[in-house]
């Protein structure tokens, strides 16, 4: 840890110099969206000032430069998660990435959509009545609602793993829930609320046994942990640029080559076609097939710079730093008996975020008190309403971290939190 100089990291993030309500900004809402280092902001700017043009199509110099910048970004992102560039699709956010898979699967049932696909692969992609999609109660809405809608479109049935009171996945019914009817098992790598790091291996193994496709929501793991698609063994993985120091407006879908190759397109239009006639169209190979229209080139380039930045820090070091922050938050909150922390207590089992409730005070009011001290946290259901229901709380307050967060910030947060019982007259003993 001694080599990780967080003050030096902070110097790279212009917004961290800001004051809020005359106090220095303490940004503990990185789980919602992270801040951006100057190198990311500059990468987008340089792209616009020097190279901006349509990619993949121009017969001119600028267009070649833009294409090179875009494809170089794809290579960087691929390397970052241990993937091949051809298997990386740029989307607008992780939500689109997951919808891409869900719509690709329902489109697979349209007439002719799987022509030419090997029958064993086609069989895995076809979903209808009687089939089952399995998710978990812990999911962000982005990895739940698209599957509900896929079920609505196809007649398949949604099933889910429950969550324990301790905020972990309850896998005791694994072999019942994942069965021969299961076509998809979709789950998050790390919970965006309770920070739980879920066990990927048993879920992948169970899905493999029945030939189900695994879809991993890696939004909260990729920014905090070393992540490799080959090690994880999943079939699809979605994550968002804006949560990993990258720009808004860019997400990523990685897919296993044989499945990507077979998956029908989602959004259709220019740049994803092979040949177009008035009455039919043939489609390009991945990743182009899934990148219809003019892509988010500047944002992809920015994400490439973010990945460079994280790689320079080293994801192992980022993970170690995160542990220190989470531990400091857990320790500080444990000293306040009027606070109830959600999720695992062991820092090895969690990362990125700490959510809690103050009984008798609504999280909105907790957040407001913190904001008054310049401390930015998030309150509410954090797009994980069913998880809150499972944990029997209406909502929660969440402090979440990134590579630039400091223990001092955690302490400032804890100190400000002490005003909550004061203002709302809560018993502190």
């Amino acid at each position: 840890m001694s080599s990780y100089d967080v003050q030096q990291v902070r110097a790279d993030f212009p917004v961290l110099q800001r004051e809020v309500r005359d106090k220095p900004l303490v940004y503990l809402d990185s789980g919602a969206t992270s801040q951006k280092p100057a190198s990311v902001i500059d990468a987008e700017r340089t792209y616009y000032e020097q190279h901006n043009a349509a990619v993949h199509r121009g017969a001119h110099q600028l267009s070649e430069e833009a294409t090179d910048a875009f494809e170089a970004a794809r290579e960087k992102v691929a390397t970052f998660v241990g993937a091949r560039p051809e298997d990386i699709v740029f989307t607008k956010n992780a939500t689109e990435s997951i919808n891409l898979v869900a719509y690709g699967l329902s489109n697979a049932s349209a007439p002719g959509a799987l022509d030419g696909v090997p029958s064993e692969v086609a069989e895995r992609l076809r979903i209808g009545a009687g089939d089952e999609i399995v998710v978990t109660e812990m999911e962000h809405h982005a990895n739940l609602v698209p599957w509900q809608e896929l079920c609505r479109r196809t007649g398949a049935t949604l099933r889910w793993f429950p969550v324990t009171d301790g905020g972990e996945l309850d896998l005791s019914d694994l072999d019942t829930l994942v069965n021969e009817r299961t076509k998809v098992v979709a789950f998050s790598h790390v919970s965006n609320v309770v920070g739980t790091i879920n066990p990927v291996a048993p879920l992948v193994a169970a899905a493999r046994r029945v030939g189900a496709i695994t879809v991993l929501d890696a939004c909260q793991s990729v920014p905090h942990l070393p992540v490799s698609v080959t090690e994880l063994g999943v079939d699809f993985m979605a994550f968002s640029g804006h949560k990993m120091l990258g720009p808004t407006g860019v997400g990523v879908l990685w897919g296993r080559a044989e499945l990507l190759a077979a998956l029908p397109p989602f959004i259709t239009g220019g740049s994803m076609i092979e040949q177009v006639f008035m009455d039919h169209t043939t489609y390009a190979a991945p990743p182009q097939r899934f990148e219809a229209g003019s892509p988010n080139v500047a944002q992809a380039v920015g994400l490439g710079a973010a990945v460079d930045y994280l790689s320079k820090l080293g994801m192992d070091a980022v993970r170690e730093h995160d542990k220190v922050l989470v531990q400091a938050a857990l320790d500080g909150l444990a000293k306040r008996p009027w606070v109830r922390v959600l999720g695992p207590t062991d820092v090895e089992k969690r990362c990125g975020a700490v959510a809690f409730v103050v009984d008798g005070v609504h999280p909105h009011d907790v957040g407001q008190i913190l904001d008054d001290s310049g401390i930015a946290v998030r309150t509410g259901h954090h797009c994980a309403w069913p998880l809150h229901r499972a944990l029997k709380v209406p909502a929660s307050t969440r402090a979440s971290f990134a590579a630039y967060s400091t223990v001092e910030e955690v302490e400032a947060f804890l100190t400000a939190l002490d005003r909550v019982p004061e203002v709302f007259g809560v018993e502190v003993a």
């Binding site: 609504h362 909105h364 009011d365 407001q368 008054d372 259901h381 309403w385 909502a395 203002v423 007259g425």
Partner: protein
């Protein structure tokens, strides 16, 4: 901070006229989608008079206090008066702090004046009022003569 006036804390801890009661002619359930705050409001109108407003409010101190103030400020008044009170509340809450509110019109509602400076909380304060006007509509009351509804 001037947001949490003692009056608001009092209303949120001991919400007036809380609970769902019979009889009622209209009921509306509103949700603040950004945070999950929920409120159900029932209205019992008799001719032109708001006989009762009952409610179940699950949410932050601001939305609960606002529901409590709503009940206090409209029960026993005419529908038209209640809608004027709504308009005055709305004007104050959306004034970004320019309109301090008139105690003559909105009573304890003035304690919510500080909310106007926090756009994210304005929705909380308006939630019960929006549910109230919706409940009126469902009770068959014509509220179209009063401007400014969303």
């Amino acid at each position: 901070m001037d947001l949490y006036q003692q009056l608001i804390l009092d209303h949120s801890k001991r919400p007036q006229h809380a609970g769902l009661r019979e009889p009622f002619e209209g009921e509306a359930h509103h949700v603040n989608t950004t945070c999950g705050d929920e409120v159900t409001v029932r209205v019992h109108v008799d001719g032109d008079e708001v006989k009762d407003v009952s409610y179940d409010a699950q949410g932050c101190s601001i939305s609960v206090a606002s529901a409590s103030i709503l009940a206090e400020e409209v029960i026993g008044f005419s529908v038209e008066e209640s809608l004027s009170t709504y308009e005055a509340m709305r004007a104050m809450l959306t004034s970004k702090g320019q309109d301090p509110g008139d105690e003559e019109v909105i009573g304890d509602g003035v304690a919510l004046a500080g909310v106007a400076k926090y756009p994210a909380r304005v929705k909380c304060a308006l939630l019960p009022w929006a549910a109230y006007t919706d409940a009126l509509v469902r009770a068959g009351v014509d509220i179209s003569t009063v401007g400014g509804q969303r």
